[in-house]
């Protein structure tokens, strides 16, 4: 009747050199970054990649929600929102303008 518990999968471990890198959640509103690597569960990563958060994609942090949690991003010209806890799994390089 009720859904069985799902098996925990390890997901994608960040590579050594990126583990200490800057995260998407570290960017402030108005800043832009380039995606270096996306960590987290397979499903989460794939969904993000499908939504265009691919390696080297440019991503701008537009703002945070009023209660400071989900954040609003601009990718490929459209607006996308993810939670800060998930943004922590995305390693980025800041692009200075």
């Amino acid at each position: 009747m009720f859904n069985r518990r799902q098996k925990k999968r390890p997901g994608h471990q960040l590579t050594e050199e990126n583990r200490t890198g800057l995260r998407l959640s570290d960017l402030r509103p108005g800043e832009t970054g380039r995606i270096v690597e996306v960590g987290g569960s397979d499903q989460f990563r794939l969904r993000l990649i499908e939504m265009g958060l691919t390696r080297n994609a440019e991503i701008a942090v537009d703002k945070y929600a009023p209660l400071l949690d989900p954040m609003e991003l601009i990718v490929m010209g459209y607006h996308l929102s993810i939670r800060a806890q998930d943004a922590e799994k995305i390693v980025v390089k800041r692009i200075d303008r």
Partner: protein, 760 residues
């Protein structure tokens, strides 16, 4: 399929305008249903073009075909198993890159395809110009620029669909998305094995790609094949090689490659005039989702929504109410008094009428919700409220059905369709009944008014708060137990704001409202008949007391009193006339005459109303005894021991049972039980005083209120839960959970309240 009928399927991202295009194509010829087994809406319709019939289906919006969500699974299964003759891929031209991701997968699936490049108006606004011919060549399918809203380009789209559908040599447009050499060589290895075994050659490359993506469904499918195990092992080796080369999963590598192809295509065909580019949505969002203004504005919108729903709805509500009453009176006037007329008038029309009055509210609510959805604000609501809903393991969007629950749980439960994941939907459905719907309010007003006249408002407000707290606590409990760990990651698109079109608002409102009407005609009708039957039979009941005798006695007593009064009045008149001497004014116009007459009529009035009161008392006792003998009363008596620990009498148990059909009925049941008649309203003093004198204490009343708040709202809600969860198990669970919770809390109140002497 006959010669002159083709099946076409419309596929595309959420919000790309699929439904708009679908409506443009099929006009009025459409039907809304559900996909089997899931509660994703299934819209189908048909149209004719050049004497050919096109059966059209509007697939759910999806970002890809990876089969993560219910929608994606449906799209994929439909495209593969039902093999439509033409797939119309609707693309939002103002958001090309992301939209094309699905397109690459559709190309790989290899069904004949036409691309409808929608929202060309928005693309122009953004300063995009697209070289259509090159685009069509690159994608291997005709590309038709359209504006779904205005219908521009739809005729050309129909023409292209016809051409692709009738193109026998259709295989010519077999186009492949090219991958890097390492990947292509793995694909070749897998495809080779396929060619020598059975299976549709059409899907070979698609399946090979899916295997490199470690797609579970494809793997299961391939395992069934003759050379299945061999193919799987080759595929696994391939995946391992790719993963070691790219240091990433096969899935991610392939998705990256698709975006590579897309970026190449866009570079070739799209030029952007940056001087025109504007992002007006962003400007709007500077205010609507502003750090400080966002929440107050949202609260304001919610307030307006409620205000409109109830204030605007109350007018037609009164009309419907008056109409139902008039109809009932008319019918009982012309029909001879019989069982049939009672069934028709009191059972069916009365029962359904009681719910029909809510139709205006429901339609208005749906209309506003449709406007919020179509405008794009709903996504912002999810954005603003996610932080709060995340606490109970839900998605921000789940906030909307919760709010709707204050109005009516039925549309609220239907409103959970806006949630993508089934787990979120079920969780939201299970906690929704605790949001105190408007039907419970009359019960609160009646009972709180009777037992807590000084603090009625506080008591009622606490019921609402208690409901919210129970919903939150249950949400937490469920997400930690029966529904744990299946939450989808929060990845939410915030689409550009749009001015909603009236046509689509009306359509959306009607589609959802219709379901409610349907329910009134079925579940509620049956429930009303049931309550009627229980209250009507057995027709002949034995009464211990001779009520007509009692009534006669009362009448006699009072007519004697009046006779005595008349006599006294005559005497006083005569006395006073003898003392009267003035010649100027005739006696009958004198002051003393008038004083006497006034006194007389006041006395007579009070005697008459005393008589009325006494008769009424007897009548009430009579109806009460009659009801006790009817099935409904017998059931109440039978259940009484069960609810006795809560302090409830048989009356409460009857009221609660009938309240299961619809909570409003609790009030009218009390009316029947106390013999005050069917049409009591919450101000009715008769019921209030009878309630007080029935032996119920304020403490028991409080328990009764809590029970009313928490137990299953009504049959219609149960039907909605069944419909939306698709299973009886969740439906039964919901009923059992809420009834036991209601029982436990009411018991606790009675027990601890009695111990500490609250409200005694």
């Amino acid at each position: 399929m006959t010669d002159n009928t083709f099946n076409i399927a419309i596929a595309g991202n959420p919000n790309c305008g699929k439904t708009t295009i679908f409506n443009q194509l099929t006009g009025a010829h459409q039907r809304v249903g559900n996909w089997p087994g899931v509660t994703v809406e299934r819209k189908s319709g048909h149209y004719s073009f050049a004497d050919v019939r096109f059966d059209t289906i509007d697939l759910p919006g999806s970002y890809s075909l990876s089969a993560f969500s219910a929608e994606e699974k449906i799209v994929r299964q439909y495209l593969m198993d039902d093999a439509p003759d033409v797939v119309v891929n609707v693309i939002d031209a103002s958001n090309l890159e992301r939209n094309l991701f699905l397109t690459t997968q559709l190309i790989e699936l290899g069904r004949p395809m036409v691309i409808a490049l929608n929202m060309m108006d928005m693309a122009d606004e953004k300063g995009l110009s697209i070289d259509m011919d090159t685009f069509a060549t690159l994608l291997g399918a005709p590309v038709v620029p359209v504006v779904g809203r205005t219908g521009q380009g739809i005729d050309l789209l129909k023409e292209k669909i016809l051409r692709v559908a009738t193109d026998i040599s259709g295989k010519s447009r077999q186009l492949n998305i090219p991958y890097a050499r390492d990947i292509e060589s793995e694909l070749d290895k897998i495809c080779e094995l396929f060619d020598t075994t059975e299976g549709d050659p059409h899907f070979t490359r698609w399946k090979a790609i899916k295997l490199l993506e470690s797609d579970r469904e494809t793997r299961n499918e391939v395992r069934q094949m003759k050379a299945g195990n061999e193919i799987l092992s080759i595929a696994e080796q391939g995946v391992a090689r790719i993963e070691s080369i790219y240091n990433d999963t096969g899935r991610a590598v392939i998705s990256h490659a698709r975006y590579g192809f897309i970026q190449g295509a866009i570079r070739e065909c799209v030029t952007e005039d940056l001087s025109v580019a504007s992002d007006y949505s962003r400007q709007i969002d500077r205010i609507l989702t502003n750090r400080w203004l966002g929440l107050p504005i949202f609260a304001l919108f919610m307030w307006i929504m409620f205000k409109l729903t109830y204030d605007l709805g109350s007018l037609p509500m009164d009309w419907i109410d008056a109409g139902v009453v008039a109809l009932m009176q008319f019918l009982s006037g012309i029909l001879p008094d019989s069982m049939f007329s009672s069934l028709l008038v009191e059972g069916m029309i009365g029962g359904v009428g009681a719910i029909a009055v809510f139709l205006p509210n429901i339609f208005i609510l749906f209309f506003i919700i449709a406007a919020l959805e179509d405008s794009g604000y709903m996504a912002r609501v999810a954005f603003i409220m996610d932080r709060i809903m995340h606490n109970i393991g839900l998605h921000g969007k789940a906030f909307i059905p919760m709010i709707m629950g204050f109005g009516c749980n039925v549309p609220a439960i239907m409103g959970t369709r806006i949630l993508e994941s089934r787990r979120d939907r079920i969780l939201t459905i299970l906690i929704n009944p605790f949001m105190s719907c408007s039907a419970r309010l009359p019960v609160y007003i009646l009972v709180a008014g009777a037992f807590f006249p000084e603090h009625a408002a506080t008591v009622i407000f606490s019921m609402y708060i208690l409901g919210v707290l129970v919903a939150i606590a249950s949400g937490k409990l469920f997400s930690k137990t029966i529904l744990r760990g299946m939450s989808k990651p929060f990845v939410l698109e915030l689409p550009p704001y749009q001015r909603p079109t009236l046509k689509s608002l009306v359509l959306h409102t009607w589609e959802r409202g219709y379901v409610f009407i349907e329910k009134m005609g079925t579940v509620i009708l049956v429930g009303s008949i049931l309550v009627w039957v229980l209250g009507y039979f057995p027709q002949e009941v034995e009464l211990e007391r001779d009520y007509s005798n009692d009534k006669q006695t009362i009448q006699q007593v009072y007519s004697q009193k009046i006779d005595a009064l008349d006599l006294k009045f005559q005497e006083s008149l005569e006395n006073s006339e003898q003392e009267y001497h003035s010649e100027m004014i005739p006696y009958t116009e004198s002051k003393s005459y008038q004083d006497l007459e006034q006194q007389y009529s006041a006395l007579k009035q009070s005697i008459l109303s005393e008589q009325k009161e006494a008769l009424y008392q007897v009548r009430m006792e009579e109806i009460s005894e009659i009801t006790e003998q009817k099935w409904i009363g017998r059931i109440g008596k039978f259940i009484e021991p069960l609810v006795a620990p809560l302090g409830f009498s048989w009356r409460e148990s009857v009221a609660l049972i009938t309240g299961f059909v619809a909570k409003e009925i609790v009030v009218s049941t009390y009316g029947v039980l106390f013999g005050v008649g069917e049409d009591v309203n919450e101000e009715n003093q008769g019921v209030i005083s009878s309630l007080r004198s029935s032996g119920m204490t304020p403490l028991v009343a409080l328990g009764f209120l809590v029970f009313t708040l928490l137990y299953t709202p009504c049959l219609a809600t149960v039907a909605a839960i069944k419909r939306e969860t698709g299973t009886w198990s969740y439906t039964l669970f919901s009923v059992v959970y809420s009834v036991s919770l209601a029982y436990t809390l009411a018991l606790g109140i009675n027990y601890f309240g009695g111990m500490f002497g609250w409200f005694s």
